[in-house]
Symmetry: C2
Subunit: 339 residues, 2 copies
């Protein structure tokens, strides 16, 4: 049995009302608030069908209806158009992001902006090292046998590691090592690095071989293989605001999940540039069923260097949230393209 237009309209109305009132919506209230052109009784029949099909449900007999995850899914896929942003929102985005000092600052501002606009929990992944190129590698002697290795990616991201050298290395040798490494790696993508680093070790003059091996090891191990991905979080207070999550039962596991960077990366480290919406049970993470997650990739132009998004209750304003996340991602992408 398929759903005719009016039934879809009823579903849309239920979703909209429930999202705004947060209370089960009954047939009478529905016809009052929307021009459906039919009586409550008719709506009730439609509701019965929608319930059979699994799009809505009753919390208990004699209560109004509430959309199911499946209902939200249909709503998002078929029944909603992306809301255009209000000029106020556009201005907020610009005002918030201009004047960012460095990459850290951009990410920081972005995640707070997202949290504020959507009034939900926001997550932004730092530009992924995997998808970055090396802009420059700097060696800073810390002592005679220790060197700080600083890698600067083209996205502006900076990573550093301390390296213990096997022997004392004179200053000139450090300069030479720096020159060699940059010659080989600067401008290259990080994913292409391993063979190049290998080549560095093989080609280097015998006198520099030992320190070069130490450097190469750290480079490979901690920057390439264990390519450290990071995320930033904001707006957890909004979880308490919604009133959807109860303190003992659902809020704590969510907060716990949000503290696991691995989980956040899995969810928000978007690979494709497109928008993705996970609703309730569609979620991979057990503890985050009951929440919905809207994510997108971002980056300069069409390239994706990382993901961002928001997390909130399944009863969220999907069109609005999607529009905001998309707009912010685009704006940040443009920002990255400039630098």
């Amino acid at each position: 049995m398929s759903l005719d237009d009016r039934k879809l309209e009823v579903l849309r109305a239920i979703v909209q009302d429930y999202v705004s009132t947060q209370e089960p919506v009954g047939s009478k209230a529905l016809v009052e608030r929307h021009q459906l052109g039919v009586s409550p009784a008719t709506v009730r029949n439609d509701m019965a069908v929608l319930e059979d099909e699994g799009y809505i449900r009753q919390p208990h007999t004699s209560a109004g209806r509430v959309p199911t995850d499946r209902g939200y899914r249909l709503f998002v896929d078929k029944l909603s158009r992306v809301k255009p942003l209000s000029p106020a929102e556009r201005r907020a985005i610009e005002r918030f992001l201009v004047g960012a000092l460095d990459l850290d600052d951009v990410v920081h501002r972005t995640v707070r902006l997202l949290a504020q606009l959507t009034r939900q929990v926001a997550v932004v992944q730092y530009p992924s090292l995997t998808r970055s190129s090396v802009r420059h590698l700097e060696l800073v002697p810390v002592s005679t046998t220790r060197v700080l290795i600083v890698m600067i990616a083209d996205t502006g991201r900076v990573e550093q590691r301390l390296v213990d050298l096997p022997d004392q290395v004179p200053h000139d040798d450090v300069t030479e090592l720096r020159r060699l490494i940059n010659e080989k790696l600067a401008g290259r993508r990080l994913v292409d690095a391993p063979p190049l680093v290998q080549a560095l070790v093989e080609e280097v003059a015998p006198t520099l071989r030992a320190p070069m091996i130490a450097l190469a090891t750290v480079l490979l191990e901690t920057l390439v293989e264990r390519r450290e991905e990071r995320v930033m979080l904001a707006g957890t207070a909004n979880l308490a605001r919604t009133g959807v999550f109860d303190l003992q039962g659902s809020l704590r596991p969510i907060l716990e999940a949000l503290e696991e960077e691995v989980i956040l990366l899995k969810l928000f480290g978007a690979v494709e540039p497109s928008m993705r919406v996970r609703i309730g049970d569609e979620n991979e993470i057990e503890d985050l069923r009951g929440t919905s997650i809207v994510t997108t990739g971002y980056g300069p132009g069409a390239t994706v260097v990382g993901g961002m998004g928001v997390l909130g209750p399944t009863r969220m304003d999907y069109p609005g949230t999607i529009a905001t996340v998309r707009a912010v991602a685009r704006y940040v992408g443009d920002l990255l393209a400039q630098s």
Copy 2:
């Protein structure tokens, strides 16, 4: 009227019982669980006095007693000895912190460790730039008119800023600028930087004057004056665990306050190496009355480079928390001293 030993003992017992059971404690239960050597009636009289003095209170008539902020204060100052750490905790600290890759990683592991051991919200300030020296300043050309300036502090902290130069600057000039800047600033404390940077501008050769001014401006503005202090947070899920905070009323403002870096810095950016305990209303921040905060400074040896601590309900295990925070701070201090 002063409090004799037994009354103090009663107060200690009340605090201990209330912290562990989280329920108002009555006179009968008290004599059963502690060897006070007197009858409930006597304890009741003592309680009446303690209540007059403001150390305990009754939530309502015919309920047991609960310590007031003042009671906790007396307990912390006079009635408790710092608990020695269990060997298991010592081992946990070591196991957790060895193998940290870089400063970011140290801070990251530390804050999670603190949250886990105390089962509360943990905060760790990054080593303050104010108290750091410059280890090295690196200039990385990004385009012909843009340079990334990377400052590496002796604590291992790395900060970077993008600088727009007024004109194209040839590669050799960048090298020269780098040399000049490092010559002047390397090894100097950041607080001493402003006159040195000023001198750099005045002494530089006329051809390099314009780019040097641009660099100096950024150095002064964003690294010295607006010396960016950062903090890291973990364990917010523990707020939900305690069951002390209700969802609508108290939890949300706390989460909001915790997202304000300014507030966290004010609270946890300890200046002195000593332990500090703020209990309930003693707190400067309105929204954090109702919580207690245990902080300490940390750093290599006796120097303080930053603060760390935990935040939890006023009914917290003060001796245990204080011991843990102190131990972790010392361990991290040692770690910093090594590098």
